[in-house]
């Protein structure tokens, strides 16, 4: 990757972040909806900590990771929608005519998603601390949380980008929103898998998203465990590899067929 590619990625990433802040329909799913759900679920289901086997005594500590991963998945989806809108409006065609690397176009969008994921992680850490959450591992723990949220943004953002490149239609990428919630509900994002009902409990136990969520949650509720850390890295490597391969294949197909 050349210095020129890095400049293009930075410029497209900055454009992506600005675009999100200018369009409320892109920002709302990343910050507003997860914050609303975090507030309501924490107060609505907060007495769940009285259940036998619940791992913490403050429900907000448990829910923080769920809100972060929800925000990250939706940031990836919103990034995909914005890329599809660029394709629909011809902006991508203009980029293709420019003397820049093809993959820098996708990486630029993912850089934007990564930056938004970092912002969302910081937002939820600050909100959590204000409303009574405590991070067991302190500042290093918070950095680990941001690290995993950013990597998740890139990995899941790649899936949104792949669908955008494959279909070129924002409405199709927008149709992934319900799927995001299916994946979330079938993971340990909002509740410990040992207390979920079957068959969701079994699915959650093996869902790669559960490994990632648990790594984000780990520094909040206990000491960082290397086992949890490496399981999450493995899950991220799997999702990231799949999304990058799919994006690359979709981009090549678009370049070959012209649409």
């Amino acid at each position: 990757m050349t210095a020129n590619d890095l400049r293009v990625i930075a410029a497209l990433g900055a454009r992506s972040v600005k675009q999100t802040f200018r369009r409320p329909q892109l920002l709302a799913p990343i910050i507003v909806f997860p914050s609303i759900l975090l507030a309501i679920q924490t107060a609505g289901a907060g007495r769940a900590v009285d259940l036998q086997g619940f791992p913490v005594d403050n429900f907000l500590d448990f829910m923080l990771a769920g809100a972060m991963i929800q925000s990250t998945l939706l940031a990836g989806n919103s990034g995909g929608i914005a890329l599809a809108v660029d394709i629909e409006m011809g902006f991508t065609d203009r980029l293709l005519a420019a003397p820049i690397s093809r993959f820098a176009m996708v990486l630029g969008r993912l850089a934007g998603t990564a930056a938004l994921s970092a912002l969302s992680a910081i937002w939820f850490i600050v909100v959590g601390l204000i409303f009574g959450a405590s991070i067991h591992e302190g500042v290093p723990g918070a950095l680990v949380m941001i690290f995993f949220v950013v990597l998740s943004g890139i990995a899941f953002g790649g899936i949104g980008a792949a669908v955008a490149l494959r279909t070129g239609r924002a409405s199709v990428v927008q149709g992934l929103f319900p799927l995001v919630f299916v994946i979330l509900f079938l993971s340990s994002a909002f509740f410990p898998d040992n207390l979920m009902l079957e068959p969701a409990a079994t699915v959650a136990e093996y869902n790669p998203l559960s490994f990632i969520v648990e790594a984000i949650r780990d520094p909040v509720i206990s000491s960082i465990s290397w086992e949890v850390f490496w399981k999450a890295m493995g899950a991220l490597a799997l999702v990231g590899a799949l999304s990058i391969l799919w994006s690359a294949s979709a981009l090549r197909r678009r370049l070959r067929t012209g649409g």
Partner: protein, 255 residues
């Protein structure tokens, strides 16, 4: 315009909304899919909450009414998004210069929303009964569906208000978030005595709590007038306020 012409205008607007459903069936999917996913997902995730003292029963019986109102809220809010699109494309201006009075136009919009809210309700009930939700009895079902239609109307008034204010489809998240907040800041997840912090206070004073309790009663127990009238009163109050605001917005809209 006499009352017969007014009714025809309302009917024409309802038919236009129905045509949209037939021509773009995919447009109804989000309103159906989102509450169904939330219903199934939250039942699986928070199902163990019924083990808490003071709960009892099955969680799907507790949650089904929430999802019915959520479906109505999303469907009603979609009326606002469609109106914003009509405003952007200039179709609404043509409607405003027609002889139809403003209240008739609003009635057409909200009636179509009330009827459309039965689509997610029917789907949710089918899914709910398939996974073992209690049969609420005919009286419980009729009350629940009436309140669902009322909630669809409230959401349509809210969506109309925002569409006329912002005149852009980009206000859609505000329309949906407003309805999500209104429905979820109630006894959606647990009984009032089990809610904690700010939600306990908000749920006590949120009128949708009364609507939800009235819609839920048949699914978790027996239907009584004592549990029904507060819901009907809250519905009437919300409808009066939001329809007055929507009508005021419509009257202020210049062509």
């Amino acid at each position: 315009m006499d009352w017969r012409a007014n009714l025809e205008a309302v009917w024409a607007l309802v038919r236009r909304a129905a045509n949209e459903l037939l021509r773009v069936p995919g447009a109804a999917i989000p309103g159906v899919l989102a509450p169904t996913i939330f219903f199934l997902g939250l039942t699986s995730v928070f199902g163990a909450l019924v083990d808490l003292p003071g709960f009892g029963g099955e969680y799907q019986d507790w949650l089904i009414a929430v999802s019915l109102l959520q479906g109505a809220g999303f469907t009603g809010a979609a009326t606002g998004v469609n109106l914003a699109r009509d405003i952007e494309q200039g179709w609404f201006d043509r409607l405003l210069v027609s002889p139809a009075p403003r209240p008739v136009i609003l009635a057409g919009l909200v009636t179509s929303a009330a009827l459309r809210s039965l689509i997610p309700a029917a789907f949710l009930l089918a899914v709910g009964f398939a996974i073992g939700v209690n049969w609420p009895g005919l009286d419980g079902l009729v009350i629940a569906l009436f309140l669902v239609m009322g909630m669809g109307t409230i959401a349509a008034c809210w969506g109309t208000l925002l569409a006329l204010r912002y005149r852009s489809q980009s206000a859609a998240p505000l329309m949906q978030a407003g309805m999500l907040l209104l429905v979820l800041t109630t006894t959606a997840y647990a009984p009032l005595e089990l809610l904690t912090g700010w939600l306990h206070t908000v749920a006590r004073y949120n009128p949708v709590t009364q609507i939800l309790e009235a819609a839920r009663q048949g699914f978790i127990g027996s239907v009584t007038w004592g549990d029904t009238w507060p819901g009907l009163l809250a519905l009437a109050g919300l409808l009066a306020v939001l329809s007055a605001l929507a009508l005021r917005g419509m009257r202020r809209t210049a062509v």
